[in-house]
């Protein structure tokens, strides 16, 4: 951690500065210098909380590409789930079949698991309620609006769809 201190401050600074430029959208010298000073102060304090593993992760081209490729993939899943959910909403309470199911997760690492859990929660019809780790394997408890199968591995494949592959490509 200590030896990465400078690089993590630098990468936090770059992310902060990009946000500053995007939000102000003003390229006069005064704004640029002031932004750099503020971002450097923030990066100095916040890098410890912002970066836990690999400071240069976002600047590796194939990781960045994988992150960009994840967006259309995620939007497609989101659209499918939303159309399905909208039908259920108009259909009323007879069209739902809720349950909480425990599914295995292959993604490793805190960031990957958090991102996958958040993606699952964002798709309508599934909410991640808890993460546990048993004998080196990780499991999500997922509230699922339409339990079509009680087999946990199959249910995991249906819920996670192609999201898990995308997430693993980003973080591994």
């Amino acid at each position: 951690m200590q030896k990465n201190r400078l690089s993590s401050v630098l990468s936090t600074f770059v992310v902060c500065y990009v946000f500053w430029l995007l939000l102000t959208w003003n390229f006069s010298a005064q704004e640029l210098v002031m932004g750099a000073v503020v971002c450097l102060c923030v990066a100095w304090f916040a890098s410890r909380m912002f970066i836990h593993e690999d400071p240069t992760w976002l600047f590796k081209p194939q990781k960045l590409l994988a992150l960009l490729a994840y967006i259309p993939l995620f939007l497609r899943e989101l659209w499918k789930a939303n159309v399905d959910m909208a039908k259920r909403c108009f259909g009323g309470c007879r069209s739902i079949n809720p349950g909480i199911i425990k599914v295995p997760v292959e993604a490793k690492g805190l960031y990957a698991q958090a991102m996958l859990a958040n993606s699952i929660t964002l798709t309508p019809g599934t909410i991640t309620m808890d993460i546990v780790s048993e004998n080196g394997k990780d499991y999500y408890y997922i509230h699922w609006i339409d339990v079509t199968t009680t087999d946990r591995v199959k249910a995991g494949e249906i819920i996670k769809g192609s999201l898990e592959k995308g997430v693993r490509r980003i973080w591994e």
Partner: protein
């Protein structure tokens, strides 16, 4: 130009339809968790539709890149913060003993931790 405006209007209306579906879902669903599932419709497709329409309007008709970027940042913020809140609410409700009245088809969380 008029076509562009129509397209932007259509995107916003689609977002509105999904928000309406979510609202109706909240009113009609039978238990807490199912209601939360319905509300996810509003915060994903509803918000994305409306914000996408607004971003296109700001970029192509108002020619204001600063506004566009701000709208995109709002969208990203919703997409990153919303699932954290949803997860916390669902987990807190379950821990405080909220259970669906009609029962659930399968309840692994209750089986593993609360019996």
């Amino acid at each position: 130009m008029i076509l562009l405006r129509l397209l932007i209007g259509a995107i916003i209306v689609i977002g509105g339809i999904f928000a309406l579906a979510g609202t109706i879902g909240i009113l009609r669903m039978p238990d807490t968790y199912s209601r939360m599932q319905a509300s996810t419709c509003i915060s994903t497709m509803g918000a994305i539709g409306v914000l996408l329409g607004a971003a296109l309007y700001a970029a192509l008709i108002l020619h204001a890149p600063g506004t566009t970027v701000k709208i995109v940042v709002i969208g990203l913020l919703i997409l990153t913060v919303n699932p954290v809140g949803a997860h916390a609410i669902a987990r807190g409700a379950y821990r405080n003993g909220v259970r669906p009245e009609n029962g659930m088809k399968i309840d692994d969380l209750g089986r593993d931790f609360y019996e």
